[in-house]
């Protein structure tokens, strides 16, 4: 990596009481990388994302753009998009208001969004191909469109690293392809994206790096290497090869 990393994780670990959910995870990620995070259910992918974002107590060090993160205020260059079922889609909020929420980091609690904020939100929606949908309700969106709206919120937040948890789950084939094209476009423009996914074939074809996680970091590198039969067995156990075949 020639440029300094935008995200550097050293010896990251999370434990709940005596149980270690994650331990010894270290990696560095550069600007504009599109990374698939793979691993079986319960492997610690979501826990790793939450630890990076400071949402759970953790050991180890997280640095974002060279800044050692101690609390949330140090992590505002990160955007975490949880699994879809975590938020109430019937909540009375428009797509425009959702994206505008990303601008909150630039204001005090009592301040109202400015015209510049609205322009930034509109531009973010354009970048994810949802321009002109500001007044739509979330319930009018498909799964893929919702994910793009959340990514737009991350762009409005001016996050340099976006972590998407199971972003492709429940999204149909055309929606998945459109989402991947948006990810590729954003990565080309300098945004770094980490996407937790179970779609290993897609990870091999469309991502430029893979992190394999199962309790710790099992493999890190180009998709071809991380998705080799041996590496998959190390991550998924004996079912790893069939996971790729699926």
């Amino acid at each position: 990596m020639s440029t300094p990393p935008v995200l550097e994780v050293s010896d990251l670990g999370v434990h709940y009481g005596q149980r270690h959910a994650l331990h010894g995870v270290s990696f560095a990620i550069g600007k504009g990388e599109l990374i698939a995070v793979i691993g079986p259910n319960g492997a610690g992918k979501s826990t790793m994302f939450k630890a990076i974002c400071g949402l759970v107590n953790h050991d180890g060090v997280v640095e974002v753009n060279g800044v050692h993160c101690h609390d949330h205020t140090d992590r505002m260059d990160l955007a975490y998009i949880p699994q879809r079922n975590d938020s109430d889609l019937n909540f009375p909020i428009t797509v425009g208001e959702l994206v505008l929420a990303g601008r909150r980091r630039f204001h005090r609690w009592y301040a109202r969004p400015t015209s510049a904020d609205r322009a930034a939100a509109a531009e973010a929606l354009d970048r994810v191909r949802l321009g002109g949908t500001e007044h739509r309700a979330l319930t009018e969106f498909s799964g893929g469109q919702l994910q793009r709206a959340y990514v737009a919120r991350a762009l409005a937040q001016e996050a340099s690293v976006v972590l998407l948890d199971e972003a492709l789950s429940g999204v149909d084939q055309p929606g998945t392809l459109e989402l991947i094209e948006v990810f590729e476009g954003l990565a080309a423009q300098g945004t770094t994206l980490l996407v937790a996914t179970h779609d290993l074939a897609l990870a091999r074809r469309r991502f430029n790096r893979c992190l394999a996680v199962n309790g710790t970091l099992r493999a890190d590198g180009a998709p071809a290497a991380v998705l080799s039969a041996e590496a998959l067995d190390a991550t998924f156990g004996s079912g790893g090869r069939s996971a790729l075949a699926d």
Binding site: C53, L78, I93, A101, E140, S142, Q157
Partner: protein
Amino acid sequence: MHWLTDPFHAEFMQRAFIAAIIIGVVAPVVGTWVVLRRMANLGDAMSHGTLAGVGIAYAAGVNVLVGAMGAGLIIAVLLLLFSSNRRLGQETVITVLGTAFFALGVVVISRLDTGVELSHFLFGRVLTVQWSDIWLNLGLGTAAVLVVAALFGDLRLATFDHVQAEQVGVRVELVQSVLVLLLAIVVVISLRTVGTVMTITLLVTPPATARLLARNLRQMTMWGVAFGVGEAVVGLMLSYHLSSAPGATIGLVAAAAFAVVFGVTLPRRMPHHHRPLD
């Protein structure tokens, strides 16, 4: 026409209508967030639990509103303390606290030898509201509405997606604590108007009715206030003519409005109205 104007002739009714309008505005403004955050159980426990403060204040010769506010704050603090226990769900802790404080209030009031009846506090005595009560309620109510207006963006963010809210700098736990404090204020304002039992009605039913009509939060708040004021005034007017309990009559009007709006909006909520765009 006389049917509409008669209730306004007596000064005690004028005071009652002003008190009803104040609670009709403030309760839905706060209640919108109670409904969206699914905190109705907390509102119920808080409104019942303040009876302990009311009873103790009455026995001590202190203003009952001060007692109610004190009890509300103590419940809020205890709730925050006990909620950290992960073995018990928050709903369980809320119910234990609410019923304990309610029971304490009933015991204290039942032992009072001053002729005061438990039902006065349970269902309110809006016809005995004094101007001093109205000024106090107006002050507290205005403060509550201003706090909600100032915190509107953070309340929306913390309610919809508390994870993202924390990421962009919202102090989610502080927002939650402020909301519990606002809840205590609504309970205090409601005490004389609809009583501790029916407070939850104005806190939850108008915003729930508004939720059926509104596309966004501003609309929901506006509709909630419209329903809250309308139901409080109509309920009071009906109670005057029917000689029925004002608080309970307001509660019935609110429930009737909810039922009508629920029925009218039913076709709009059918699944075919939520087609994805693509």
